[in-house]
């Protein structure tokens, strides 16, 4: 079937294109950050609008406290903004290439293109970039751009270098419409969790003084938003997995290692949501909880597939 093999080859090329475009976008975003204006950490200051300022607008990054805003600020060079816009364009191009890679792979194998770990990771990177670009449409989160892009590029690189699997059929157990439901939900949630994880790491890296990195309040808000969307989706993914297990393995929950870690991840993100509303845990502690949960997610994706055997060992990773 040469036509299908050609398509598979095209898919591989699109992955490489996506990596390059993401890296280019990352440079653009990084330039904008590096030469943009540095900001104070407004995490500790409640976002309160100046009195009588017409329609209140607490959107995006505009809640810089008044004392800081009145400091003399050096206007960033005009090209820093332009670099940001170019990066957005490159990011969208990379997104399109990533999408094309997934679609061509799906056509080449004539099934849902997430049947093994390679395909799964490619799709998760796509989901993460989608989550970022999608959020950007409604709310300015460009400050995350460089970090999301580099994560996606690294993820795709890891997929190509370590996980690559030639296009082909999957084992019978995976030939089910449940792939479309369960795995798609898991991919979506993982993409969002990645955006949250990137924000969380930046939150911890950023000191509490002036910095070119985005303010902690912005980072915390971006992370929370992503998780608020991701958590129900993840819950659904786990339940859909249980339904599938009920069809395929004769029990809906059997504490298979993958199930154990999906559960741990779920409990850990629930703990984050609780920590955020518990006195004394807000901010830094909640962020650490969030990153622990993110670690569980990654371990489930990489560690469980590669080091622990179980019913889910379809991952098809060689070596």
């Amino acid at each position: 079937m040469p036509a299908e093999q050609q398509l598979a080859g095209v898919s591989d090329l699109f992955v490489v294109a996506a990596v390059l475009l993401y890296l280019a976008a990352m440079i653009g975003f990084a330039l904008e950050l590096a030469f943009g204006r540095s900001k104070a950490d407004s995490a500790a200051v409640p976002a309160r609008q100046p009195v009588g300022a017409g329609v209140g607008s607490a959107g995006g990054s505009s809640d810089v406290p008044a004392e800081v805003a009145s400091e003399p600020v050096v206007e960033p060079p005009a090209w820093a903004r332009k670099a940001g816009w170019a990066a957005m364009a490159l990011g969208w191009l990379g997104w399109a290439a990533n999408l094309a890679a997934i679609v061509t792979r799906g056509l080449a194998v004539d099934r849902w293109p997430w049947g093994n770990m390679y395909e799964f990771v490619v799709a998760i990177c796509f989901a993460a970039v989608t989550a970022f670009l999608g959020t950007q449409l409604r709310q300015n989160v460009r400050f995350l751009g460089a970090f999301v892009m580099v994560t996606a590029a690294l993820g795709l690189g890891f997929a190509v270098k370590v996980l690559y699997t030639a296009a082909g059929p999957v084992v019978p157990a995976l030939n089910s419409y449940w792939v479309a439901i369960h795995v798609t939900a898991a991919i979506l949630a993982s993409g969002l969790f990645i955006v949250a994880g990137v924000s969380g790491i930046l939150y911890l890296i950023r000191g509490d003084g002036m910095s070119r990195l985005p303010s902690r309040a912005d980072l915390e808000r971006a992370a929370h938003r992503a998780i608020v969307f991701a958590f129900p989706v993840w819950t659904f993914a786990v339940i859909a997995g249980a339904l599938w297990a009920d069809k395929a393995w004769g029990r809906y929950w059997g504490w298979d290692p993958k199930e154990v870690w999906a559960f741990i991840t779920w409990v850990a993100y629930a703990a984050y949501l609780h920590a955020r509303v518990t006195a004394g845990w807000r901010g830094r502690a909640a962020t650490i909880v969030q990153l622990l949960a993110f670690g569980c997610l990654l371990f489930n994706l990489v560690g469980v597939n590669m080091f622990i055997s179980g019913l889910h060992s379809y991952a098809d990773v060689s070596g």
């Binding site: 009195v51 955020r276 004394g280």
Partner: protein, 513 residues
């Protein structure tokens, strides 16, 4: 209601009596902080469940660990690490967590019901102090404002010169419902494990199965299951078919497999045909039969030293290499005379003539004799024995080897080997396939599904909806609007909504809507 309200006044009063201590204990248990810590413990406690082999998942690995490092295994066992998810300490954590949950949900439900009946609170004196504030250019009356806010589906209260409006009550509904459905899920799972059972059985082509406890190879009943309560269905496996990828990098990979069965739903019921596949279980009155795996059962005929046929039939072989389905077989012939016979063989679905298999499909089935023994196999010693092991090591040592090593040429179907000194003959007469099944009955399945489905919807409501209040004050014809979300972290999204609300309030009749 914010959590701070819940957390308020938890300090322990000095000089408490036993009632005071109880109350303090209950309060501590139901505090958010305790819940948080219990959630952590819950996650942490599941970790060993994925690292240490679990009896319910991989019983053979547990046995292996007991053989290889008995001391470690004993310590593991002492802490119930082979049964993490049914262990006392795991149960202690989730029971505490769920008690905490109940203690948390009950008072919140009471508060919530009270709040539902309450009207939105009167407008604050100075609206410009609110996080969201706007002054309208056009004049607006209190009635107009109330009407337009009602149009936006706010709950509205009108006072002297002000309007108070509130929306987003579903958030708390969702949150409470979510926590309650988690409790429901736990109850459903518990119910299922008490009144349900599951078991495994291996069936060879041509053989049948009737759903009785004795027919299972492994049977795990819930506490409340009696032998009579098993659904009395039966079936025979008439044919088993598997297909494999024949070319490319994935040559030999399974594509599909099907078991063709004749099923009787109850004794005396008409026979129906059913094709069992992965992902498509057979259901008889709530009892599900699942196809888990398959392999080969070559058919052998053994003639003993006296010329009698001492054994004839299929022998299910254990898969040794998944990609080629090369399998190891054990044939025990306790009826052979003058002494019992035992054989170790290797089955090659597509033999290459040199002792290896090239493909998992049975294109050129061959068996290779690896060892033949005579002597007492200990089958009748009364001790449990594995059908996949010829004999335990201490018994093996006492057997007389007749043939040893891989020097034997592989047999094709119809081939035979004469054992030395007229001790007998082994014939390879055909190939059948076996399948392994899991049969499960779990009355908690549907309730668990309902609870889980409710949980997803409820958590989505709880996380996506924000509780918000809007006030309008009209003074000397000038209208001011103030807004507030009562949900942490959602201020950003409310900004746009507030702007829309202001637009609707000021556009009024001019607006198309």
């Amino acid at each position: 209601m914010t959590v701070d309200e819940l957390e308020r006044e938890r300090a322990r009063p000095a000089g408490m009596g036993p009632v005071g201590w109880l109350r303090w204990g209950w309060r501590t248990l139901t505090s958010m902080k305790t819940a948080l810590i219990l959630l952590f413990l819950f996650a942490l406690a599941s970790v060993p469940g994925s690292l240490v082999p679990q009896r319910s998942v991989e019983p053979d690995k547990v046995v292996q660990l007991f053989q290889n490092s008995p001391t470690l295994a004993e310590w593991y066992d002492r802490f119930q690490l082979f049964d993490v998810f049914t262990s006392a300490w795991f149960a202690a954590i989730y029971l505490l967590l769920f008690t905490s949950l109940i203690g948390c949900v009950l008072p919140r439900t009471a508060t919530y019901v009270r709040e539902l009946r309450r009207r939105p609170p009167a407008a604050p004196r100075n609206l410009s102090r609110l996080p969201h504030f706007s002054r309208l250019d056009d004049p607006l009356t209190v009635e107009e404002a109330a009407g337009r806010l009602r149009g936006l589906r706010f709950r509205v209260e009108v006072g002297d010169g002000w309007v108070a409006a509130e929306k987003g009550y579903l958030r708390e509904t969702g949150n409470l419902l979510f926590h309650v459905s988690l409790l429901g899920l736990l109850v459903a799972i518990g119910f299922g494990s008490l009144y349900g059972y599951r078991g495994n059985v291996l069936v060879v082509e041509g053989d049948g199965f009737a759903n009785t406890v004795a027919a299972y190879d492994r049977f795990i009943p819930g506490n409340q299951v009696s032998a009579e309560s098993l659904e009395p269905f039966s079936f025979t496996l008439t044919d088993f078919q598997a297909t494999y990828q024949v070319e490319g990098a994935k040559r030999g990979q399974e594509l599909d497999y099907s078991a063709f069965m004749k099923v009787n739903d109850a004794p005396g019921a008409p026979t129906r045909d059913y094709t069992l596949k992965v992902n498509e279980p057979l259901e008889v009155n709530g009892t599900q039969t699942y196809l888990l795996g398959h392999g080969y059962a070559p058919v052998f005929k053994v003639t003993d030293g006296k010329g009698q046929v001492a054994f004839e039939g299929p022998v299910p072989c254990l898969i040794e290499s998944k990609p080629t389905l090369t399998s190891g077989c054990v044939v025990k012939v306790p009826d052979a005379q003058p002494s019992q016979l035992g054989f170790l063989l290797r089955f090659l679905p597509t033999g290459d003539g040199a002792g290896a298999s090239l493909f998992p499909g049975a294109l050129n089935p061959q068996v290779q004799l690896l060892g033949a023994f005579s002597g007492d196999l200990g089958v009748r010693s009364g001790r449990p024995q594995s059908v996949y092991e010829l004999a335990p090591p201490e018994v093996m040592r006492k057997l007389t080897p007749l043939v040893m090593g891989t020097g034997q040429a592989p047999l094709a179907v119809g081939g035979s080997i004469d054992l030395p000194k007229g001790t007998g003959k082994l014939e390879f007469t055909g190939v059948k396939e076996w399948m392994t099944l899991q049969i499960a009955y779990d009355p908690g399945r549907l309730p668990a599904l309902v609870a889980a489905g409710t949980a997803v919807v409820a958590i989505a409501l709880s996380l996506m909806i924000r509780r918000r209040r809007v006030w309008v004050r009209v003074k000397d014809g000038v209208a001011e609007v103030g807004g507030l979300t009562r949900t942490e972290g959602s201020a950003a999204g409310f900004t746009e909504e507030f702007a829309d609300i202001v637009k609707v309030l000021s556009a009024g009749g001019k607006d198309a809507r």
